[in-house]
Amino acid sequence: MMIETQPLEPLDRAALPARVAALAKEGWRLVQICCSCRDAYEVTYSFDREGRFLNLRIGFSKEDPALPSITESYFGAFAYENEMQDLFGLRLDGLKLNFHGNFYRLAKKNPFLDPPAAGSPGASPAASPSAPSAEGAPRAAPDPRPT
């Protein structure tokens, strides 16, 4: 089994643009940006250079949901940053191609922000009809026309 070593570098929010600019200069490729939010925000920036993998991690509280944009160094980050903005309600400062919350067409604002209350039907992601809302709940009354 192959398990990659994936160094994780904790970083301060304010130091992000400079660090990312340095990585861009060294020729790292931006692999992805991942946001997650339980009690506090946790944003991970992943980079790759010739197969080597590096993560930068920024943590900050829910009270202050803002991040500096890195589109200055990596224009391609606009997709990830708009995604975070839409799904997690982050504010991205200096985002070059800003869709202002319209990157995804969502039925609910910032659907990924709250953890779902277990079993509550209203907590379905994006409240889309395809997402089963009552997981594991007993099925609706059987069809009156049995075969």
Binding site: G27, Q32, C34, A126, A131
Partner: protein, 359 residues
């Protein structure tokens, strides 16, 4: 300076079977800028992991995309296995490679057909898809499903393919390979195909890297980047090198995919020759605690699976970065300065799969 107009393109467009909308800012027939808008089909599958058992999630992961289906479930399972520190049997890893490469051939054939269709070469389209149909039959014979394989699970694979079936598979693939060569010759040499693809949508090497392109889009610009080189599953035991083309235009991306089809046939042959005997799945104990980024190579490029578990059977965060998501920024770059009639073909050559980009 001529006047600027905006032409809306998509999400419903005859040559574009994907729900992406582009606002094309035009000057005469030239595209000055393309502004994308996606999000028509956001499904929120990442969030679903918080309510589903982590083992059942493998089925959902497979359904993120209907074309790279197998590699999606494989990526998810690899990420979970890494978090669990679960060693899966070697035979399962080889079977995953065999199915993964079959899925790559299927995806590339599908794409080649669609491209032929987009530049109006209907007979080529039909013949490419005729071959794809044969491959789907082989997939069904070995895995039980035509498009959704349903054979990957956390801890290995769900069914074994015996030696006799593997021999039959090899024989059938040899026929298919010969047929694919005929098609490849048309794509590589036919004058009408060349005129439609050469010199269009050039993505220089530095731009490709800087904008985060992945997969054939990146390799078509001369960067030998392929996640399979990390040596996950059984790729460490096989002999191969990433396919690259230097030109960076639509033709280069097309050639990369064509040569990858040939390479996949070869990889399957190697894997069948080297596959060890043994069980195909390991028992899963406990629940994932910890996090991991699994990186795999899909037909469209590198996919990243991030899982974070907290020791319960529900994941805390599940994230998929699909190749098309990474290929959107380079697409916008190549569209700048192209002619309007070339837009569909350029959009197609990144092999967009918006459904998986939006998960």
């Amino acid at each position: 300076m001529s006047r600027r107009t905006i032409i809306p393109f998509g999400p419903q467009h005859p040559v574009l079977p994907e729900p992406i909308h582009l606002d094309l800012v035009m000057e005469d027939e030239k595209v000055v800028e393309a502004i994308p808008s996606i999000g028509f089909i956001h499904r929120g599958l990442e969030k679903m992991a918080e309510k589903k058992d982590f083992q059942e999630m493998a089925y959902i992961a497979e359904r993120i995309c209907g074309i790279c289906s197998f590699i999606h479930s494989m990526g998810y399972c690899q990420a979970i296995e890494a978090v669990l520190r679960l060693e899966i049997p070697r035979r399962a890893e080889f079977l995953r490679v065999i199915w993964g490469e079959m899925s790559r051939i299927h995806s590339h054939l599908l794409w080649l057909g669609l491209t032929a269709d987009a530049f109006g070469f209907e007979s080529l389209f039909m013949h490419t898809w005729r071959l794809r149909e044969k491959l789907l039959d082989l997939i069904e014979e070995t895995s039980g499903g035509r498009v959704i394989f349903g054979v990957c699970k956390v801890g290995g694979v769900r069914r074994d393919v015996d030696a006799e079936a593997l021999d039959r598979l090899l024989a059938a693939l040899a026929d298919l390979e010969a047929d694919c060569r005929e098609i490849a010759a048309v794509f590589a040499r036919d004058a009408s195909v060349q005129r439609r693809l050469s010199g269009i949508g050039v993505l220089p090497k530095e731009e490709a890297l800087r904008l985060g392109a992945v997969g054939p889009t990146l390799r078509g610009s001369g960067v030998p980047s392929d996640s399979r080189r990390l040596g996950y599953a059984a790729y460490d035991a096989l002999d191969w090198a990433p396919v690259t083309e230097e030109a960076g235009d639509c033709r280069a991306r097309c050639l990369v995919r064509m040569r990858e089809i040939a390479q996949s046939f070869d990889l399957i042959r190697q894997a069948v020759a080297k596959i060890p005997e043994g069980p195909v799945s390991a028992k899963v104990v406990g629940a994932p605690r910890g996090e991991y980024f699994a990186r795999l190579e899909q037909p469209r490029g590198e996919v990243v699976y991030y899982v974070k578990g907290n020791g319960t059977k529900h994941l805390e965060r599940f994230r998929v970065r699909t190749p098309t998501f990474a290929n959107l920024p380079p697409l916008l770059k190549i569209l700048q300065g192209c002619e309007l009639p070339d837009v569909p073909i350029i959009v197609l050559t990144i092999d967009p799969c918006i459904s998986c980009a939006e998960r």
